[in-house]
């Protein structure tokens, strides 16, 4: 098993793939979270009836498999609109919307977890809506939503393996390229898994750390 044709060059190739995975994930989780907060607040403020159209659109992103979303968006932007976008751009757009759809629900759940009585108390003390949201809801909702959000971020990182269909060479695709050339699937998949672990583990630990810290104050 240690008699392998794998070279240092191939490790650099895999590391580049891992870099692409981190890049795509970072972009989508960052913008997806911002959009998700906006959608989540809108959803909460408008109530289930008026936010139905928005929720319907977000439901589409949550119900259709990511692979299909990527292929269809790429084909639509490329052949119908003829925008000539790169696969990377398309991957980031689709993953961002996909993340935002899940994040909106997490944000809504977080806001709903803040006791209404507490918020009424804040308002009766003369706080504006914005002050209430910032000083009362944000700190409490963040504590509730954090574990699910970390789960979402890690999930998006692993789902980002699907962006190979729009010609983005991320970690899993790089591994497949090496498997085709070297014919050593088990070793290469173990290395690939280790790369994913190295990326996710610190994020999961950091989430655990924040949770612990915030629960003590």
């Amino acid at each position: 098993m240690f008699d392998t044709a794998l070279t240092a060059n191939d490790f650099i190739f895999l590391a580049k793939g891992a870099g692409m995975t981190i890049f795509v994930t970072a972009i989508s989780v960052f913008f997806g979270t911002i959009l998700g907060i906006v959608f989540g607040v809108i959803r909460y403020q408008l109530g289930p009836f008026w936010s139905a159209p928005l929720m319907f659109v977000l439901d589409i992103f949550r119900s259709i498999p990511l692979l299909i979303q990527l292929v269809l968006t790429y084909a639509f932007l490329g052949t119908v609109l003829r925008l000539g976008m790169s696969g990377l751009t398309v991957a980031c757009i689709v993953l961002t919307l996909y993340t935002s759809a899940y994040c909106a629900e997490i944000v809504r759940g977080g806001i709903e977890a803040v006791p209404l009585t507490l918020r009424r108390a804040a308002r009766s003390l003369g706080m504006t809506w914005a002050q209430d949201m910032r000083s009362i809801v944000l700190p409490l909702a963040t504590r509730v939503a954090l574990p699910s959000w970390i789960g979402l971020a890690l999930g998006v990182m692993k789902d980002s393996a699907l962006v190979y269909v729009v010609q983005v060479t991320e970690l899993l695709k790089s591994t497949q390229i090496l498997i085709t050339r070297l014919q050593e699937p088990l070793l290469l998949l173990m290395i690939c898994g280790a790369f994913y672990f190295v990326i996710s583990f610190p994020v999961a630990r950091f989430g655990g750390y924040l949770e612990k810290r915030w629960s003590n104050d």
Binding site: Y74, A75, G78, V166
Partner: protein, 269 residues
Amino acid sequence: MKVSLPSIAAIATIAISGSATADLLDDVISSGTLRCAVVLDFPPMGSRDADNNPQGFDVDYCNDLAKALGVEAEVVETTFPERIPALVSGQVDVAVASTSDTLERAKTVGFTIPYYAFENAVVANEGVEMADWEGMKGKTVGATAGTYEAIWLEGKVKEWGEGEFRPYQNQADVFLALSQGQLDATVSTVEVAEANVESGKFPGIKIVDKAPMVPDYVALITLREEQGLINYMNLFINQQVRTGRYAELYKKWVGDGEPADLTIPGVYR
């Protein structure tokens, strides 16, 4: 100035049709990039080098085509079943992917003239006296069961009425048997034969002759309606042969010997 309604309509029609006449050939040239679908797990036509960059006969053909068009080549890796979907969904402009020109596929995509042909070679053990493919008569021959070559070879053995045919589970077993002298000769594609002789894994084998089977002609493909680009690529293939580039790339990727004749005797195109 008075402008009549029909003239506005005429101008509008010209404007619309003007934008519609830009075909894929124009699009490729104006975008500055030619996106080729290439299958990269099919050596020597397409594979990856030690730095994981695409290489192979098809990759070089894509680069040559891009150079002729004056644009940059972009190799998009696809698998065999993904070639046509990638083309139809607009992910690539052309496929340089050893696509056999079947009539069934021609209903979906547009084929050029053949740019390559997969021929079959007769490979024999060095200890066996054999001048050409007919020397297999009366010998012990074998091939991978169920393949095109095996069916042809078995048919020949029956036709000759002498010799023996042995089927094997896979290609490696066939070459091992040949190398060990259990078989006198086999038939496989020239590319596989060259690669196996080259690899040194099977000592004592040699390529004798090409087998007189109908070659597997492969062509470049693009969208069915893009006649302008198909026309361009037909001329490109012609020029590759004319300038000797075809033979040069054959020597580089497949090995010494004559590249397959891309014309079919007795018929146009």
